[in-house]
Amino acid sequence: MKRGKPFLEVFASAVHEDYRFPILEIFVFFYALGTFALASFGSALSTMGASEEAVAYSLASSVLGTPLFVFLILIIKNLAYGLGSDIEKGVIQTYLSYPLKRSRILSAKLLSAIGLSLLILLGIQIPALYLLAPGIVASHFGAVLLTYAANLSPILFISGIMLLVTLIVRRGGLALVFGIILYFAFSIVSSMLMFTAFATKSSTILQILSVFYPSTALSRYYGMQFYPGIEEVWVPTFQEVALYIGASYLITIFTFAIAYIYFCRRFSV
């Protein structure tokens, strides 16, 4: 029998379900709205006296604000309803009955749930940045990429934890609730840590926070002030920033690896 293309077909099927009309259109609209209309260009303008690299960082950070939240919502929706509900209803059981390795089924689902969402986000944002400040973005594209890497890592980490929880609880609704709680818990804890760090002038807290939120280190590196007027407590070097970004991705990869191992070796339908 001729071999088919099960991976691509499961991926196409997942895309069809995850982005059916009008879900894709709605999220593209919110991405575009967040990028062009809701971006906080004020912070970018405040760096006008700074280096071009810092301006590039500031621009990228400002357009990322709302779309990053939309990106997280889309991922939570896709993991909860795309994967969680498929497990709950038995669609995953159907996929597992195909001549396809488990790791590839999960990859196809994640490529649709996370990969495609990311592609849409970057597909709108990168051209938008070129439109807004073509010269600065072109000459400091590395700083833009670093900004994206630093800001995306906590979202991907949350996604990894949510993936693991979705595989364990096997309920779409429950996974959705967990994802929302997880996001708010992360936001609240990081805000509290940030406040404590400045209140106690503790660089250690900022360093710990940077492992999970490397954008904290990156913003310090570019001289952005969270609390204007308050003395800076920590200014990392570029190598340190790269280390924190690398560490945060290692943690994220570890979380996904656990989810993969669980799905391939332990998960049963």
């Binding site: 077909e9 499961v10 379900e17 059981q93 001549p99 390795k101 049963s268 339908v269």
Partner: protein, 310 residues
Amino acid sequence: MPMVVAENLVKSYGKVKAVDGLNLTIDKGSVTGLIGPNGAGKTTTIKMILGLLKPDSGWVEVFGQNPWDNPEIRDLIGVVHEKAFFPSHQRTIDYLRRACRIFGVSESRAFEVLKLVDLQEASDRAIKALSAGMLQKFAIAHALINQPQLVIADEMTANLDPQSRSALLDLVLRLNKDEGVTFLLSSHILPELSRVCDSVAIINRGKVWAFGKLAELYEKYGAGIVRISTDRPVELSEEIKGLPFIEKLAADARGISVKVAKGREEEFYEYVSKLARKVNAKIHGIETGSASLEELYRLVVGANKLGETI
């Protein structure tokens, strides 16, 4: 030649042992029925055969390979799950075409299988718009898309109307006879299984309690069955099971089925009258004959429930 071999399969969910040392062999070209009460371990067994569940211990081979580690063997298997679910927002024909591409068969096969199960008129419908019976037919069509050598179906005829059930059983027989497709069918509808199966495995409490060719099982358990029609089957069966020459006994609301030791039938009839008077039961009729599959099943399962007295 065995197509499926399971040896000492064990699978527990927490403290509950769903399958407990199960042995099963499915020969190539056979139609084997898997029967047993709810919670007997049929679906768990099927999932382990398909490689969807990993046994706690024991092993299973399908086409000579471990299904958990070798998903490529599913190229040769068609599956109808107990609860069939597919991506619901796709059209039936589109999803079947996708399945064709997954298995590497011609996309024209999609419409062929819809026709096989008499669902061609629903080819443009979204899967979520199918009724329960239509969804079941769709699941059967989906299972046949790769022209499988082995079809494993869990409650294949659930939700189908009598006409569709009959047509489907004809299809099973035809595929088995003309194309040599091997079937493993799990069902509670025993008359259906007796129509198509040549072998039966009776599963209870995670073990195979009886397995073999249907004719051999009838010979072993079902020949010379005495059926007693009475208004008090429970009370009378309690008395009868104490008789030393009772080999098997099963009772339900309609009466009692008993397998009596050879040559002791006359003695048994005398005892039945006495015992009926003792428990105040009215005997409406007594007849002797061969057991149906349902009786066979009840005798096997019921007999073991009664323990050492049988």
